[in-house]
Amino acid sequence: MTTRQRLLVLLVAVLVVATGSTAYALAELHRSRAVSTRPPTVPTTTRDALTGPRLVFRHTGLDEEYGVVAEVPLDDPGGARTFTDVSCDRVYATATAASCLRTKRGVVTTFQEVDLDADWQQVREAGLPGIPSRTRLSPDGTLAGSTSFVTGHSYMTTGFSTATEIHRVGGKSLGNLETFTLYLDGKRSEPTDRNIWGVTFAADDNTFYATVATHGVTYLARGDLTKRTLTTVADKVECPSLSPDGTRIAFKQKVDHGSGTWWTPAVLDLSTMKRTVLAGEARNVDDQIAWLDGDTLLYGLARADQAGVTDIWSLDVAAGAKPQVYVEQAWSPAVVR
């Protein structure tokens, strides 16, 4: 081939690639614009913010409110939802505060953790080191614990981990939980590959629970904020969620399911350490479960046929119970009473 022919081939290749990818991008842009200007298909209302017992969640309908935090009254979860002005990837709320983790899109995409008051006004903002994963508040709304996937990628080597941190709502950080002293099966332990995720708080504002993973094993650890310790109390517990009366932990348990990772909801009784796997839910549940009341769990599941759309399901804690849709087009449930 002569140089001229080579240049010609290159030109054709550039044109084909440029035309093809631009056409694809424009079609996607058009589709995305159409979606983001569509009104929600679920009933909505513009009345003032709810005040009574309610469910706070992230709306995931493919419409103009995608990702916006919404609320429905607990006595009518399928009814009209009220939207807030806040967008979050992950949200949690109590009667006095809310915690919101979000992706700040831009030419450099960063992640934020925002504390809000009862009127959804921001009281604190901090950077998150990675993709939002879990957030929880203590029952009185004074402590927040969040988990993100640390993804800062580096030039030649990369490390993967979760970063889990607890801070006072609107105030100071109490530190990354990796810096807490870890007692593994009763012995002080300093594994280098420890990962910690999924905080849940007890009512005393000192005790909390979280998952600690090391050497491929996951543990339920009880944390003490004053002593800055984490003590394992059980194994094979991920993303714990303390029941309203503080006696049980709902969590996702890894089960054998051929290929890949598969989690099933389960409940652990903290006094007897008896666990009930809720096999009535046959799908893969990857969420930090919320308690609707003393015997009902809530969690989000992605729709298999619609990317990005999720529903919140409810499941009775009795073994063999079947899940039901609780709120459609919703994610990240938080029960506020």
Binding site: M1, V9, L10, A13, V14, V17, A18, G20, S21, Y24, A25, E28, L29, S32, S36, Y66, D89, R105, G106, V107, V108, T109, T110, F111, G127, L128, P129, G130, I131, S133, F149, V150, T151, G152, H153, S154, Y155, M156, T157, T158, G159, F160, S161, T162, A163, E190, P191, T192, D193, R194, N195, W197, A213, S259, G260, T261, D286, A302, A307, G308
Partner: protein, 408 residues
């Protein structure tokens, strides 16, 4: 111990300057062409790398554990494939073909990434991509060496690495720009990435001659000559220094510990490192040509020690920027220069294998360093661990500098 890292072994004199070699003073066209290929390919791979965590977690729905598995594959696969690629390139005398196979494999992997939907398929596709990267690196560096005036080899590598890093900077920006315009536009990023990969392969196939980097054999060369005395000494020194190179991730994590601003910028700290690398790749290559490549390679680890210390001492933005700049300086002093030194330490017939060996030893030693450093990190604390490694590194560099005094 007497260490000699002579620039060129006296044994096995090989083909004289090939006709394609650039006239003195100019960077060879082939080097720029290979730089453009790397630029296009890096736009392709880094745009995907930048969004992969988001894509896997938010669209594919992989969780932390599964993602860690994918990430481990991502970095582990390529190191050993490299040696095989080098050996085949030398044996066949056709580094261009091996490089083309490597770039082509990564391109094909991107096609499959468009359709991959589960952990298993994504892991496979990403492994294929990394195998491609492993295959192509040493043959490409070998072609750069063959096309360059030996007196300006450092600069040639500097030019190539600068172009490469431009691609690594454009890729994430482009990806996030697309996601900014199209919030769920992950597939658009994958399509655009495939487009750049295709263009990289097209440029390589069209404009890099098939015999580029090929060596005419004047005499019988034994494969064992790749591991001659000077080469072994190079591998020992480079490998030892790499054992004290604990990975950027720890520098970023230390910054996260010591600086409030770092949390906000943590996901993009590597951009700062890349900017410094980009700016200094050519100047450091030139410096290496002037004062000796081995010297720059060894002394280039001092900025790394500096980066460790800066990451610990940093309390604000200036300190953090200093740490990133030093880290970038380290890469500018060592990444291309290592290939240049290795290429000149073995006979030309074994050039690609030599480069591949050096790069593999360094990559494996660095992986070992990261694992070992993890222990230290928790045992004595992040800052103490980094300062300790910085001190050890400084001593090692000083020792190396004394031992290598007077060497080019």
């Amino acid at each position: 111990m007497y260490l000699s890292l002579s620039d060129r072994p006296s044994a096995a004199r090989t083909a004289p300057t090939t006709p394609r070699r650039a006239p003195r003073g100019r960077v060879a066209r082939l080097v720029v062409t290979l730089g453009v290929v790397s630029l296009l390919t890096d736009i392709s791979s880094e745009s995907v790398s930048a969004i992969l965590p988001l894509y896997l977690t938010s669209v594919i729905g992989l969780s932390t554990v599964a993602y860690g598995f994918v990430d481990g594959l991502y970095q582990g696969v390529s190191a050993l494939v490299r040696i095989a690629g080098g050996w085949v390139a030398d044996k066949s005398g056709r580094p261009q073909r091996v490089a083309l196979a490597g770039y082509g494999l990564s391109m094909v992997a991107r096609v499959f990434l468009l359709f991959a939907g589960g952990v298993a398929t994504i892991s496979t596709v990403i492994s294929a991509d990394r195998i491609g990267k492993g295959l192509r690196t040493a043959p490409r560096d070998s072609m750069i060496t063959a096309a360059s005036d030996p007196a300006h080899l450092g600069r040639s590598f500097g030019v190539h690495r600068a172009l490469d890093t431009v691609g690594a900077a454009i890729g994430p920006l482009l990806a996030f720009l697309i996601l900014w315009a199209i919030p769920d536009g992950y597939h658009t990023v994958l399509v655009v990435s495939l487009g750049f990969a295709v263009l990289g392969v097209v440029v390589l196939a069209l404009f890099v001659p098939r015999d580029a980097g090929g060596v005419q054999r004047h005499e019988q060369v034994h494969w064992r000559q790749a591991l001659s005395g000077p080469m072994v000494r190079l591998l020992v020194v480079a490998g030892f220094l790499a054992l004290l190179t604990v990975g950027d991730g720890f520098v970023y994590l230390a910054l996260l510990d010591s600086t409030d601003a770092a949390a906000r910028w943590f996901p993009v700290l590597y951009v700062g490192t890349n900017i410094a690398y980009l700016a200094l790749a050519v100047p450091m290559g030139r410096l290496a040509d002037r004062v000796g490549r081995t010297r720059v390679l060894v002394l280039g680890h001092l900025p790394l020690a500096g980066a460790y210390v800066a990451a610990c001492l940093a309390t604000g933005v200036p300190g953090a920027l200093a740490a990133l700049a030093l880290l970038g300086t380290f890469y500018a002093c060592t990444d291309g220069v290592l290939a240049a030194v290795a290429a000149r330490t073995v006979p030309d017939e074994l050039r690609t294998s030599g480069i591949a060996c050096a790069q593999t030893v360094v990559a494996l030693a660095r992986m070992g360093a990261s694992v070992g450093f993890g222990v230290l990190w928790f045992a004595i604390g992040p800052q103490q661990a980094l300062v300790l490694v910085a001190g050890t590194l400084a001593v090692a560099v000083a020792g190396g500098a004394v031992v290598l005094r007077g060497r080019p």
